[in-house]
C-alpha cells in the first residue's frame, strides 16, 4: 500500500493535472487546496498527468516575467498540507525520478490512486 496508515484520512483530495505556466489550472487548483487547509480541512494533494511537472526543480519565470507556482509550492508546509502524492506512471512517462522533485512527494500506482480517491469524501479535479 502506498498510503500511510498512521495518518488520519483526508477530507478533501485536490487532483492537479496541469503543469506550470501553460494555464491557470495549477494556480487555481492550488488556491482551492490552500484555502481549504486554511479553513481547517485535512487536504491531500495529488499531482497527476502533466501536473507532476509542477514539482520539477529549477522552474523560472513565465512568458512575461510572472513568477509561476513554484514559490507557492515551497510554502506548502506552512499550510499544514502534509499529504503530497504524485502519479508514478506520469513520472515514468516524462522520464523523471521521484528524487528530482521538490517537496518529496510519495509516488502512487494507479491502484493507490483509486484507493486515495475512494477514501476521501470529497475530490476536486483541476
Amino acid at each position: 500500500m502506498s498510503h500511510d496508515n498512521d495518518m488520519p484520512d483526508g477530507e478533501l483530495l485536490v487532483i492537479l493535472r496541469h503543469g506550470p505556466h501553460g494555464s491557470s489550472w495549477l494556480r487555481e487548483g492550488l488556491d482551492v487546496a490552500l484555502v481549504a487547509a486554511a479553513f481547517g480541512r485535512r487536504v491531500s494533494l495529488l499531482f497527476m498527468g502533466d501536473g507532476v511537472l509542477a514539482l520539477l526543480a529549477g522552474q523560472g519565470t513565465g512568458a512575461l516575467g510572472q513568477k509561476g507556482t513554484a514559490p507557492t509550492l515551497e510554502m506548502l508546509e506552512m499550510y499544514d498540507i502534509e499529504t503530497l502524492w504524485v502519479e508514478a506512471e506520469a513520472l515514468a512517462r516524462f522520464g523523471l525520478d521521484e528524487h528530482e522533485l521538490m517537496l518529496a512527494p510519495q509516488a502512487l500506482t494507479a491502484e493507490a490512486i483509486a484507493h486515495a480517491v475512494e477514501t476521501h469524501p470529497r475530490v476536486l479535479t483541476f
Binding site: L12, D31, V32, V35, A36, R41, R122, L124
Partner: protein, 130 residues
C-alpha cells in the same frame, strides 16, 4: 438532497455552461435543493452583465438569474478569478478607481472559501469543466 454545482467553462465557448444549466434544471425538477452554483476559472464569465447572444441562442445569464429567482439558487463568483478577467461589481470598481461594473445581479463576488463550505455542507458537488 442538497446539491452544489462548480462551473469552470466560459459561456458559449464550450458546452460546460449549457450542460450545467441543463443539469441544474433537472435537479430542481426532481425535487432536489440546489444551494449554489460556484463559478470558477473561466466559468466566471457567465456573470457578464452585458452578454448579448444572438436571439436564436439560449441566453445563459438569464438562465442563471431565473434559477436564482425561481429556486433561490445562490450564484457565487470567485472574486480572484473574476477580477483578473475583468468582472467587477460596483464596489470593486470603486475600490480600483474605475467606474461602472460588469457583473450582473444577483451574481455575488465571493471567496474560494465559499466553495470549500459548499463542498462540506452539500450532499453532492458536481463539477462542469471546459
Amino acid at each position: 438532497m442538497r446539491y452544489a454545482i462548480l462551473l469552470m467553462g466560459a459561456p458559449y465557448s464550450d458546452q460546460a455552461s449549457h450542460s450545467a444549466l441543463r443539469f441544474a434544471r433537472a435537479l430542481v425538477a426532481r425535487g432536489h435543493r440546489l444551494e449554489a452554483v460556484f463559478f470558477y476559472h473561466d466559468g466566471v464569465y457567465n456573470a457578464a452583465r452585458l452578454a448579448a447572444p444572438p436571439q436564436d441562442e439560449p441566453h445563459l445569464v438569464d438562465g442563471w438569474v431565473a434559477l436564482h429567482d425561481d429556486h433561490g439558487v445562490a450564484l457565487q463568483v470567485c472574486i480572484a478569478a473574476a477580477l483578473r478577467r475583468g468582472l467587477m461589481d460596483a464596489r470593486e470598481a470603486a475600490r480600483h478607481g474605475k467606474e461602472g461594473h460588469s457583473v450582473a445581479e444577483p451574481f455575488e463576488l465571493t471567496g474560494v472559501g465559499q466553495l470549500v463550505d459548499l463542498g462540506q455542507r452539500c450532499d453532492r458537488l458536481v463539477t462542469f469543466g471546459p
